[in-house]
């Protein structure tokens, strides 16, 4: 755990007292986690307004040229080592669990809706831990929109194959694949519902974080 040399700088709970503040490698565990040890993903160091209190600094109606400055409006972010470390440890497992629920919906409880929601929760966790704005910059809007639109198109497309073949809407037996019933349903769940739910939930989160656009600047009525 002792990766960072200047241990004990921010931690008042070192047992050695304040005299050893700059000492090399104190043996106290929690003191060694003060560094910005975020190698991957959105880093908290990028967050321009760390250590923000809860809902403080609401600055009203100033002009916002693009979304990355939305947090002037008061999106709260409190940098917490506990939350960041927990999310870093838990996120890969939750992501894998979400994919498992999605892909294994045919054989066990779950499916595209539940799995997509869990995958979206991973992104929400990351945004909670590392700041919403840095996570927003790390995400690509076109990926989210592509997942949502593509999911609807895949679902409708699989449904229309049956119609085109002379059957009914969502008649999977017309799909040109082996075991069309089973894999048609899996396709609808994995490629249709899960991307829609995941991307829309992530989108709702970032839309709510951004808040409404100002009347004067972005909409002329």
């Amino acid at each position: 755990m002792s990766r960072d040399a200047p241990a004990g700088d921010d931690d008042p709970a070192t047992e050695n007292g304040p005299a050893t503040e700059n000492g090399p490698a104190t043996e106290n565990g929690p003191a060694t986690e003060n560094g910005p040890a975020t190698e991957n993903g959105p880093t908290a160091a990028d967050e321009p307004t760390g250590h923000r209190g809860f809902g403080t600094e609401y600055s009203g109606h100033e002009e916002r040229p693009h979304l990355s400055e939305v947090e002037r409006q008061g999106t709260p972010y409190t940098e917490s080592q506990v939350i960041m470390t927990t999310v870093k440890a838990v996120a890969p497992f939750v992501f894998t669990y979400g994919l498992f629920i999605t892909f294994h919906g045919g054989g066990s409880p779950g499916g595209g809706f539940q799995g997509g929601a869990i995958v979206a929760a991973v992104v929400l966790m990351i945004a909670f831990a590392f700041g919403i704005e840095s996570t927003r910059e790390w995400l690509s809007n076109s990926v989210l929109v592509g997942l949502a639109v593509g999911g609807v198109l895949v679902f409708a497309g699989i449904g229309l194959v049956g119609l085109a073949g002379g059957g009914t809407f969502l008649d999977y037996s017309f799909l040109p694949i082996p075991e069309p019933m089973k894999y048609g349903m899996e396709g609808v769940e994995i490629l249709g519902i899960a991307p829609i739910v995941a991307s829309v939930l992530i989108g709702l989160f970032f839309l709510l974080a951004a808040g409404p656009a100002d009347d004067e600047t972005e909409v002329s009525e």
């Binding site: 409880p109 349903m185 829609i196 739910v197």
Partner: protein, 191 residues
Amino acid sequence: MNALLPTASVPLAVSPVEVSLFAFVILTAVVTALARDVLSSIIVFGAYSLGMAALYTFYRAPDVAMTEAAISAGVTTVLLLLTIAKTSRIDHEVAFESVHWPAVGAVGLLGAAMASTLAEMPVVGDTNSPVWSNPDVTQYYLANAYAETGVENAVMSVLASYRGFDTFGEAVVVFAAGIVTMLVLRREVFA
């Protein structure tokens, strides 16, 4: 699979797990309604959803329980927190709202009216209840879902195959919810 299904008619006795889950859910629901601080209310509401998810699991509805846990306890709580973070928080001197007794009386009357039908409801897990013994719906799905669709999860076979058109509509509703939120907030991008 049959080991997971209720086989015999369940006696009326409720288990301690059931009682404690019900007590937890009712307590958190009352606290959600009465808490004066909105932040407390939202957090207790998340706990309520978690209790409901546990209750669904107890009643052998794991698909519903997963949805409740992921959407209601998880994502909805985060979205509500995000929303009230944009408001200013007021310090309250008292933790709970004062109880409005006429409202309690009205809700109590409604509850009593609904509770009067409870005696006619089938016992939980009763194999003779119409929703279970119906040969055209529930029993048909359970008997034929695997042979006709090839998936072991009968819930998914209903959602994606027998009632696939409904599910298509639901997926489009989720999609539309995202679009409408953009419209309401006058934004043109998700992130």
